[in-house]
């Protein structure tokens, strides 16, 4: 069992603190007066938190390349799909009635 990169309990605590700080940061970002554009800050912060958890707690840093590819596949497919769907919604001219 590859226990080499097994971080000690301090490591777990360190990551926990980073996550709490990032969460606080995104809460603060919500108070910026930029209306609905806060997502430009809150989602990248959420992505960073997710990457941190996947790398450390889910031990992706210490696993084989195949496992990392599998881990990224779901997110990559989702973003690819979002991008292609948005080509429709960002360019749709006709009128919507609420």
């Amino acid at each position: 069992m590859n226990t080499t990169s097994d971080h000690s309990s301090i490591g777990v605590l360190g990551i926990w603190i980073t996550l709490i700080v990032l969460a606080a940061l995104s809460i603060a970002a919500a108070y910026l007066p930029i209306g609905s554009w806060t997502w430009i800050i809150t989602y990248p912060i959420a992505a960073m938190m997710a990457l941190l958890i996947m790398a450390s707690y889910m031990r992706l840093r210490s696993s084989t390349v195949i496992v990392r590819i599998f881990a990224g596949a779901g997110f990559f497919w989702l973003l690819l799909w979002f991008a292609v769907t948005l080509t429709d919604y960002l360019t749709r001219p006709h009128l919507y009635l609420t």
């Binding site: 596949a73 779901g74 799909w81 292609v84 080509t87 429709d88 360019t91 749709r92 919507y96 009635l97």
Partner: protein, 544 residues
């Protein structure tokens, strides 16, 4: 016919009691369980199709009422797509052959494999319940707002059925991916995998990445029916076209789930019966990989007239043309494989050649509906019905039957009777063409799909199509009889009746419980047919 001597110990002898079948973890028994279940559902869906074709023989809606007709084509769609086509090759031939072809003793997660069959059966029971409780009349596409706000048929039950059976294909896909990654026999590198295994691997990736999207869309529709309002609800400013985006994001890759396994089967059959290595093996693999990735970004061609923006339609059109290129590569390579072969025309080969012909026609008509300007006229008409039936029935079902005949000796240890099988294949080819070719013309002439009645002008072509359907029905029933007959009276087939080169032919037929006495190793590319073997194979036929 002399009854065959008692079979040597095999995986079948260990499955004497019913209980041993229901709790088995042997991928071969689970494959047979799947084969029985999907054959049953194929004939239920086929019955619905028969009544539809009978109804459409006359312009007026005089055989069944409109509600019943709408329920018929909905059930035909739901059963054929989710309960026959999607599991047809992966869950039957894939389950049985994947471990054998890569030299493994079993799939990675046998218990999950059995769970996959139980989920399929649970989905099946929900579908039967839907049938009994007044069926559903939304079509297999469940378009909102009709499916969510305007119909009172048992939609939620049908959605649950498809939700549950979706998990069955996710688990099958998961099992195949992990097996191919971790359990290949020594020497079996990625570029020495048989193309059937590549096809299973690619299909599994699509199953795993696309099916969750379908399940959640159906949950959203069910939630909209329960809450009364929802994200697709136009009264709230929701967008019905959003449902189509989410639905077709699954449903286009789903049609590649249906056709990719057929490519794998046909590559195996054509190489064996022309005694020749596949032409351009790496290009066939690149084509499969290209299919897997491109199949996820082309779904918009189902929505060219649905209110999608002009720019998005053009983007989806160019992507749809890109995804058509791998199909062309594969057809060219199959044809090139026949060059300088020693070709014999047993039933599997007839099915495979029939597949290449019909799939070529289906693929080329795909170019018509991928061209946005033409699709405005052709979409939602019988042209589209003919196009996808050419690919699904002409392609997938022919390849499935070809695969069943090709590996029948390996699965059951017995040979089927050759001439009846050849007759049924040829009858099916002509019955199929007579059924679906007139529908191209109907489509161009503007007969919309899902029409219970139509203008008298269309009657001539519809009668032709219904006549073809009756021939097709007979051709589908024939294998049921002669294959069952061969189970009891077929002559014993040796380990390798077709003298094919796959690993699965190196173990006995039917194979022992753990597939191989000792794990085979691989040291060369697949389909290692040599030209001397071809000369001998051909000259041997000349003497006899």
């Amino acid at each position: 016919m002399s009854t065959v001597a008692a079979q040597p110990a095999s995986y079948l002898t260990a499955a004497a009691t019913v209980r041993s079948w229901l709790v088995t973890r042997d991928h071969k028994l689970i494959a047979i369980l799947f084969t029985i279940s999907i054959t049953a559902f194929f004939f239920v869906g086929g019955a619905a199709a028969t009544v539809i074709r009978l109804e459409l023989a006359t312009p007026a809606g005089d055989l069944v009422s409109s509600e019943t007709y709408n329920k018929l084509f909905s059930m035909h769609g739901i059963i054929m797509v989710w309960f026959f086509l999607i599991p047809s090759i992966p869950a039957t031939l894939g389950n049985f052959l994947l471990p054998l072809m890569i030299g493994a003793r079993e799939l990675a997660f046998p218990r999950i494999n059995l769970a996959s069959w139980y989920l399929y059966t649970a989905g099946g029971l929900f579908t039967v319940a839907t049938l009994l409780l007044g069926s559903v009349d939304t079509g297999w596409t469940f378009y909102t707002p009709y499916s969510s706000l305007f119909t009172n048929t048992s939609v939620v039950l049908a959605l649950t059925a498809v939700f549950v059976v979706g998990f069955s294909s996710i688990l099958t896909g998961l099992n195949f991916i992990v097996t191919v990654h971790t359990m290949r026999t020594p020497g079996m590198t990625w570029m020495r995998l048989p193309l059937f295994v590549w096809a299973m691997y690619a299909t599994s990736i699509i199953m795993v990445l696309a099916t969750p999207v379908l399940s959640m869309v159906l949950v959203l529709v069910a939630a909209e029916r329960l809450f009364g309002v929802g994200v697709f609800d136009p009264r709230l400013g929701g967008d019905p076209v959003l449902f189509q985006h989410l639905f077709w994001f699954y449903s286009h890759p789903a049609v590649y789930i249906m056709i990719l396994p057929a490519f794998g089967v046909v590559s195996e059959i054509i190489t064996c019966f022309s005694r020749k290595r596949i032409f351009g093996y790496p290009y066939m693999v690149y084509a499969i990989v290209a299919f897997t990735s491109l199949s996820f970004v082309v779904w918009g061609h189902h929505m060219f007239v649905s209110g999608e923006s002009m720019y998005a339609s053009i983007v989806f059109s160019i992507l749809s043309y890109l995804v058509a290129v791998p199909s062309a590569i594969k057809v060219f390579n199959w044809t090139a494989t026949l060059y300088k072969g020693s070709i014999s025309f047993e039933a599997p080969m007839l099915y495979a050649l029939g597949f290449v012909g019909l799939f070529l026609n289906g693929g080329l008509t795909g170019l018509f509906v991928a061209a946005v300007a033409l699709d405005v006229h052709l979409t939602d008409t019988y042209f589209v019905i003919a196009h996808f039936h050419y690919i699904m029935v002409g392609g997938s079902v022919m390849a499935f039957l070809g695969g069943i005949h090709f590996w029948w000796p390996k699965v059951t240890g017995r040979m089927y009777s050759e001439w009846i099988a050849q007759a049924s294949a040829i009858l099916m080819f002509f019955g199929f063409n007579l059924t679906f070719f007139p529908q191209y013309l109907l489509g161009y002439l503007g007969m919309p799909r899902r029409y219970h009645e139509y203008l008298p002008d269309y009657q001539v072509l519809n009668v032709l199509s219904s006549a073809g359907a009756s021939i097709l029905a007979v051709a589908y029933l024939m294998p049921l009889f002669y294959l069952t007959w061969s189970l009891f009276y077929g002559r014993a087939a040796g380990a390798n009746p077709w003298r094919a080169t796959g690993l699965e032919w190196r173990s006995a037929s039917p194979p022992p419980e753990h597939n191989f006495e000792q794990t085979p190793t691989v040291d060369e590319a697949p389909y290692a047919y040599t030209s001397e073997d071809r000369q001998a194979h051909s000259s041997q036929a000349r003497e006899t």
